[in-house]
Symmetry: C2
Subunit: 505 residues, 2 copies
């Protein structure tokens, strides 16, 4: 039990930071993690468990006395791991990745080991300054204009938040306060926020949270001929209509890499509309932003100089383990004015950044040291290699799907997300018949196919319903995925397709 | 360079989760952390650095090629650590602690190593169920009524969020939507939230974020004779006044362990008022809540059955490393109705908890495994011992301060926070003269004393200005603090007091 005291032994006080014990137990935990990584490939990606499977196995009360690390890890292995969906499995393709890496994990360890809270510059100066540095580093990698950076004195800068919803919520609130200051704080019911029907629900949730009426959160429909991007003319029409109705347009959210399809909104054209009507323009580049460190993807950011703020989840595709969302602003003063909170015991330095005024909460984790670890340990070259390798595997998968005439690609791939469905036109039994739920017949089959692939445990895909269509999303993004996993996935899909379309065998 | 590839070497692909490399590098990082813990005592608690000290030392761009872990850790040692405020130092007494422990750190490692995202039950069943279990465990340790727990079918339950501001923001939004559903969503400008002048600014920030007008966030003054707790009669008077003015009271925040003084609001009496006027009553027990696992502190929670929601930061005093805030609700449905967001690719199970609907964001860290590690590795007995040991050291410190007639205790200690100032009544040169800033003379001296203690690097205290008074806050809470550190602190304070009051030598 190391330094954990026996009851009534005053000579041996409880020391929760005993270093000898930490050395021993950290090896146990790290051995557990490396074994987990090594067995990930063979585990069913999704567990076959029923609701209540775990709560039924665990005691109703916390233990009164300490237990050993061996006992705990044994329970993790036997009770918890079998009930996890293995997001780090090389066969996990259901969602945009939560991309882990050694540097990300080790950076998290440093974050937790140092355990400082840089809510003001003064409360831990190096934590704040390192954050200033890493947000500038990634701004440089993305070739964001100098006006988004601390260095160079352009007046901009960035912050590391927990996730996109925080970034969206904070920028919405800043935009709201900016406009209410002009028109009066009794006019909140008149404010209108815009997005497309492909925008992540985070925008709706954030807008509702800051008090925008549901009817005033406007999802503008997108069309295939625009690549499911938000059409600037449609936006302009919506804005002018709302202005005529006496409403106050105040916020626009564009997306680089939408959830369902990986679509990209036309930033430059939308930016012009936003400027024309004085809207706060935020870009949610949660997934697609990471790819823009590669020159061949950077064009998606063209027009970013017209944007007020842009956010990107490094924990999605930049090997940074949960959690870390970058948010950059050209004019952070609006954000600070909205989020600043003064208290005597927290008086800031005045000269430097006090990050408590750049986020929702007061306390904050030292995420900057993780990002610094990731950027240095891998270098820009390997991060680009990581993105390109995933994109190249996704392109190969897309080619295999396209080459099989039983399938169609629903939307041309932009990043490493492939959207496809069965297309059995000409097949007697399915054709264009309607299936259940109003889905077309191929969509019903596609859903069945996805179910069979997923229940095999050998891969995990997700699906989306859009109108009468259901299609499969396959994201290549796990840090462990290699070409052979993609080949196996395609074989598995072909096998399961046979099983639901035997007449074509 | 382990598995990091050389350029143009196709045989050696970039593998960011290479286990051999992880084994080696994790030892380097863990050795770094244990060495850091061992040297914490001797480091100046606050760094002596000037704004820009770190940004000036680091390159403007991220490296293009990978660097070695040794290089990175060497820079952490030489450039970053000297610029940190050492929150884990045994001599850190400035803020409520960010209490680290081995189990907390190892739990964070597991969280990061498994790296699953349980936004729905389905997206990682064991993550959700383990969270159900640990929130029930702590509810049991705190002896919360069954109506706050999942087990037993009382309809309540809890969630692990990042921090108190998230808990306050989410409950504010749920309370707002509940009342707007009744009175119409064009009435947001009429809503009034109440707190005391001792409530953490988080309530103000949260209320502003959800769209409550600043004038409608009412801080009710507290008085010494009420122990700086919110007086139920004052609250009732404020509410009835606002009702007469046509406003709509909707939310009340009480506190167990206020930031400045560690004061406690009278939960039961406030709860009756909240029930009478149908206000959502939230308890912010961020700091003081942890102590309530010890029976001798549990009485502060008396009346909790009248509360809608209660939050508590385990990362403050329950050895759980940043971040982890527990939030329990008697009727989570209101919260879920406010925060739920539907999307085809996230369809929930219906039967089980989908935690995306209990928090701001979609993605979330697997904090439950950290809490499970902490609860099991230490057991309730050691967690109680940890609280009691800090409280007992704080009581001893308070006694030493009280016994010195140059000092006064500003407010009787309730937990492990001691508030004190110099009291030189009768001393010729200071007496009751006003000093700078309108502070009384003793307060000016007290601030000077704090400055000298802090600039010694041997301890770190904080201070608060209330009216004409400035006093020092000394929190005993670092996991490494032992009695000898408290003795050294008192010696240091006496020495510095001598230096500013030589005539009393």
């Amino acid at each position: 039990m190391g330094s954990l005291p026996s009851p009534h032994d005053p000579s041996n006080a409880f020391n929760p930071m005993d270093v000898a014990e930490l050395s021993i137990e950290s090896r146990l935990v790290m051995d557990f993690i490396t074994q987990y990584y090594q067995t990930l490939e063979t585990r069913p990606v999704q567990p076959r468990v029923k609701p209540g499977f775990l709560t039924g196995q665990l005691p109703e009360k916390a233990p009164f006395h300490a237990e050993s690390m061996e006992e705990i890890l044994s329970d993790v292995s036997e009770k918890i791991v079998p009930g996890l969906t293995h997001w780090q499995s090389p066969n996990f393709h259901a969602y945009f990745p939560a991309s882990s890496s050694n540097a990300g994990l080790l950076g998290e360890m440093l974050c937790s080991g140092l355990s400082v809270i840089g809510f003001t510059w003064n409360s831990s100066p190096a934590a704040t300054e390192l954050e200033n540095v890493v947000v500038d580093w990634l701004a440089d990698m993305l070739n964001l204009p100098p006006s988004f950076r601390f260095s160079g004195g352009g007046g901009g800068g960035g912050v590391l938040q927990s996730n996109t919803c925080e970034a969206v919520l904070c920028t919405l609130a800043a935009a709201r306060d900016k406009v209410l200051e002009r028109i009066g704080d009794d006019k909140i019911n008149k404010l209108v926020a815009y997005c497309s029907d492909q925008t992540h629900f985070t925008l709706h949730k954030g807008a509702k949270l800051i008090g925008i009426r549901r009817a005033n959160i406007k999802s503008i429909g997108t069309r295939r001929e625009n690549g499911f991007g938000l059409c600037p003319n449609d936006l302009r029409n919506a804005i002018t209509g709302d202005l005529e109705a006496g409403l106050v347009p105040f916020y626009l959210c564009g997306t680089i890499g939408t959830t369902a399809l990986g679509a990209v909104d036309p930033i430059k054209e939308l930016g012009k509309v936003a400027r024309e009507f004085d809207l706060w323009f935020h870009i949610d580049a949660a997934y697609g932003g990471s790819a823009c460190i590669c020159p061949e993807f950077r064009h998606y950011l063209d027009g970013v100089e017209l944007v007020d703020s842009i956010s990107m989840n490094a924990h999605k595709w930049l090997l940074s383990n949960l959690d870390c969302c970058f948010l950059w602003l050209q004019n952070p003063k609006c954000l600070i004015q909205c989020l600043a909170a003064e208290a005597e015991f927290l008086k800031g330095s005045g000269e430097m950044v006090d990050y408590k005024d750049w986020q929702i909460s007061l306390s904050r984790r030292f995420r900057a040291i993780k990002m610094w670890m990731v950027f240095r340990r891998y270098g820009v070259s390997n991060l680009m290699e990581h993105i390109r390798s995933d994109v190249s595997m996704a392109a190969r998968f897309e080619e295999m799907v396209s080459a099989d005439d039983r399938f169609e690609i629903v939307f041309p791939r932009k990043f490493a997300l492939v959207c496809f469905k069965l297309n059995t036109k000409g097949s007697v039994q399915h054709g264009e018949d309607d299936g259940e739920d109003g889905l077309d017949g191929d969509s019903v089959l596609t859903r069945e196919l996805m179910g069979r692939v997923n229940s095999s445990g050998k891969a995990y895909l997700s699906g989306v319903e859009m109108g009468r269509i259901f299609f499969i999303r396959c994201v290549i993004g796990s840090s462990l995925t290699e070409e052979r996993h993609v080949d196996n996935l395609w074989n598995l899909i072909q096998e399961k397709t046979q099983s639901i379309m035997p007449c074509r065998a």
